[in-house]
Each structure stands twice: as C-alpha cells, then as structure tokens.
Symmetry: C2
C-alpha cells in the first residue's frame, strides 16, 4: 500500500504552518489559501493518522499532545524534501557535493591523492577539499562539521570524544637523512649521532611525538635537547636535504623519497612506534554518499 495514497505533502505543509502560527487563519494567509481549505486539509490529515492533531482553545486552536508528537516528524520530513529539491535546483550542471578531507602529513602524499585520483577517474562530480594541519585542529574542525573525515594516525583516546576510528593500515616512524649525509650507509649509529646533527622531530602535541620520545628512552638514547619541531612536510624535506639534518617522521611522509633514494633510512629500531592509520569520523553521524565513496576508495587502496 502506497503511503502517498493517503498522505500528501500538502498535508504536511499545512500542518507544519498551522503548528507554527497556532492559527488556521494566519496559516491560510501565509500559504495563500482560504481558511476553510486549511481546516479541511487538517481534518484530512487527522483522518490519515487517526488522532486529533489540534484542539479548540478559546476562539483559536492549539496543538494536541498528538500534534506535538507529530510536529517533529512532519517538520523534518518537509525540510528534507525542500532541502533536497533546493540542493539540486541550486547546482550548476558540473557540480557535485562537497567533500572536505582533513589529511595528516603521513597520508597527504600517499593514499589520499591516490584515492582522489581514482574517484575522479571514475567520473565523480564531488568537489574535494583537502585541509592539512595538526591533529587537534583537524579533529576540532571535524567535530564542528567543517570536515567530513580526517585521515591519519589514531589519536589519543581523550582526543576521540565524539569520534570513531576506522583503521586502514599500520605504519611506523622512521629516521631519515639526505643521501649524501655522513651517517647515510655508515653502519651502526654512533651514540652521539643525535647530538652531532640538527634533528627534526614531530611537534609537541602531535600524535606521534610521545611515541618518538618513548622510543629514544627504550633504546637508551638521549632525547635530542634542541630539536626543530615541525609537521610541515615541505619544510622538513627541504631542511633535511640542505642542512645535514636527521628527520624523524612517519614513514608515509618520506616513502616516495626513500624509494627514489633521495633520502636514506637510518638503522634505528622504531618497531615500538608501529601503530594504526585510518579514518576519523563523527560518531552518530551519517556520512554523505560522496564522503562514503571517498572512504570506500581509501579502503580499497589500502587493501590492494
């Protein structure tokens, strides 16, 4: 049995306006109808739902308890229909929904570009926007609804309030130098290596910073006293290449340069920094279809 055999959108529209105005006459005026037409439409709706939605109150009316209950459903249903139509009416021919992605540095140069490339190759009309920044900023933007998803390493639990995490893969932190650095390919690291050269470390407050500090302590190494702190991949790469620095960063950030032997891996045991990278999304919030497709594409890439 079709719902639309009994219920019409005009029922909802009239009811919601009467509920808002608490007056049949004013609702009629607002809707461009006559007062008897509004009353008759209300009565029809009451016939459909089988309960009185309004009751007489002095000369006027007020919503009954049933009307109060129905108002939310009717109002949201109407709003969704209106917004859906307005959304499509408002689009240019080439436009699709916006997908805002927060990408931590470790994935900004790897799987996120691959996923977007794949979606565009598949003809997606979505408008992608990729935002970088530190994890707290991105997670805050995510919570505020300014981002659809944040991709990166699993944050600390106390930063996950209101968020869910969907793991994609695991990765470690590495220490790298420029190919022509004195430490490159020179056998075991001397104990004073981190004192002899500038060291780039992830910023205070980044997810992996505590892991890096712990890794130093576990191996009886001294945490560098005056590291340069950055999460800027561009700055880090430039500085490492040009200033004989040691860069301690997530593997993903430097994977391409390692493959191309522009940078070299130092023999530092970073097993304890291995951890999950994945998708942060808002709990109890349904992703748009376009954002869901982005996530699916990411999962596909990480499984392949």
């Amino acid at each position: 049995m079709r719902l639309s055999a009994q219920l019409k959108l005009r029922h909802l529209e009239v009811f919601v306006e009467v509920a808002r105005q608490e007056s049949v006459t004013q609702a009629a005026e607002a809707l461009g109808m006559t007062q008897p037409a509004v009353t008759r439409t209300l009565r029809e709706l009451e016939g459909v739902v089988g309960k009185p939605l309004v009751e007489r109150h002095g000369r006027g009316i007020r919503l009954s308890a049933y009307g109060e209950m129905f108002r939310d459903h009717a109002g949201r249903s109407l709003a969704l229909a209106r917004d859906g139509v307005a959304m499509l009416q408002g689009l240019d021919a080439a436009e699709g929904p916006r997908v805002a992605i927060g990408a931590l540095p470790t994935v900004s140069a790897t799987v996120v570009p691959d996923a977007l490339a794949q979606l565009r190759a598949e003809g997606s009309h979505s408008r992608f926007s990729v935002v970088s920044g530190d994890n707290r900023y991105l997670l805050d933007q995510l919570r505020r609804g300014n981002l659809d998803v944040v991709v990166g390493r699993l944050p600390a639990p106390d930063h996950m309030v209101g968020l869910d995490f969907d793991p994609l893969f695991r990765e470690r932190v590495v220490a790298v130098v420029a190919r022509d650095h004195p430490l490159a390919g020179a056998g075991p690291l001397p104990a004073e290596a981190f004192d002899s050269y500038p060291v780039l470390m992830p910023s205070e407050g980044s997810i992996i910073r505590p892991l890096v500090e712990r890794m130093f302590l576990e191996q009886g190494l001294t945490v560098p006293r005056f590291p340069i702190e950055t999460v800027s991949a561009t700055f880090g790469r430039r500085f490492t290449l040009c200033h004989q620095a040691i860069w301690i960063i997530s593997h993903g950030v430097v994977r391409a340069d390692l493959e191309e032997e522009v940078l070299a891996l130092l023999p530092l045991n970073t097993d304890s920094t291995l951890g999950p990278v994945g998708l942060c999304i808002r709990s109890e919030h349904q992703l748009s279809a376009a954002a869901a497709r982005f996530c699916s594409a990411l999962r596909g890439i990480c499984e392949g």
Copy 2:
C-alpha cells in the same frame, strides 16, 4: 510559494523505490502501478528538481550523480513521514512516546522522581522507564540507543566517548550511620573507627570510588581493608540500619534519611569529593521532544 504545488509525496515514493530496485518495471510492480505511470512520475520529479535523476544504462537505468545526491534526502523525508504516521496510528488513546532514563543511585531517590512527578502532573502522556545499574552499564546502554539519557555524576573522560555532559548541580560523598550507632553524635571520629565497624563503600568501577579512596589518603586515614562494596541503595540502607555499619555513599542517596534523622552524618571531611551531577546524552543526537521535556523538568527542579 507552496512546495506542495510542485512536489508530491508520490514523487518521493516512486523515486525512492526506483532507486532501490534500479528498475522502473520492478518498482512499478512493488508500488502497484504500471510502468509508464512510474516513468512519468519520475519525469515529473526531474522537472521539479531541474536535473536528471536517472539515466539509461543498457536496456535498464541507473541513478545519475544527481539521483545519488537526492536519494538520501528523499529517503529520509519519506521515512520520517511514514514513521510519523505510523507512530500516531500505532498509539492507544492514552499512550505517548517512550522515554528511557538511566538513573544512578544518587538521583534515583531525589530529583528523578520529582521530575517525573512534575511531568505527569502536567499531563504528559509519555511512558517513562527508569533503569538503574552501574555507570558503565548505563553509559553503554545509552550509546546503544536503549536509553535516552543517563542522570548521575560526571564519569571519567575516557568513559565519555560519544557522549556529552550537561551539569545540573554538585554534590559530595558522605559517611553515615544509623541513628543509634555508637559513633552517631559521639564527637570526633576515633582513628580506628573504620576498623571497628563494617564499612560499605561504592563498588570498584563506580565513578566515586576513586574519590573516596583519595579522600581517605588525604586525611591520613587507612582505606578500609575489607569493605562491603555495593551501589544498591536498598541493600546499603538495610545493612546500615541493621548491622552497625558505616556507609560511604553520595549524599543524594541518603538525603531523605538524614532529613528524617533515621541516619546520622559522621564528622568526616569529604570536601574533596565534591563534583558535578548531571545529564549524559549522546553527542550529535537530537533528543525526542519527550526526552527533552524530561531534561528541562530536571533543570527546573535543580535551579529552584
């Protein structure tokens, strides 16, 4: 301009079914219509929104990118309308929406009953259900959607994932005994008080247990070695009255018995246990109107 002049519920109903079946013919059969009628209704809808919603794909059809975008709005609008009607149709004359409340012991005998009493006095038709249990259980039920709200003390942050907290008032933990207990009204507590009599403490895992332990240590008292652990107000009260026990519990649990002088307060400084009591609700989840009224009533009672 009325939306219902252009858009009809039958447009949404047809579109959603076509989107589900990905076939005009199968949708027609499911809806009890003929195939040309379904096609025409789709075309009408496309006229309203100004974009193609389906496109030919071999002999059949598939949703266009615009159709994908519109599907969520249309589906939810339709579902809300259907659920709203079904909700009212399904009610007995005396029935209202269900409100499920998790109440920790401290409020089970105080503000929650007052709030429900007030709502019922105001003629609310909602069906209230009050569930007790420990905080982890209640918060878990809240997350699963089996509870609308949990009232009690603010839990530890790591238990708040996916939840928000709305403070109502502050309260402390107290130590009480039966009126005729040897310690009642006997001046300063002897150091061995907690060794000489059975002690009831909040259970391991309860929110206030760590506060109680810290309070003992702060005052140079020994934490009781063999306390009886409980959050059952019924059991605690009975045991305290009948077995010369000392009961360490939130003030709210025993407020009435203190006022009636059935129980007596011991001179123990529990200032450090002062903390917020309030409402836990799910983040990013809109409370039903009935649940929202319950929360408002609670707030009113706590402000008065």
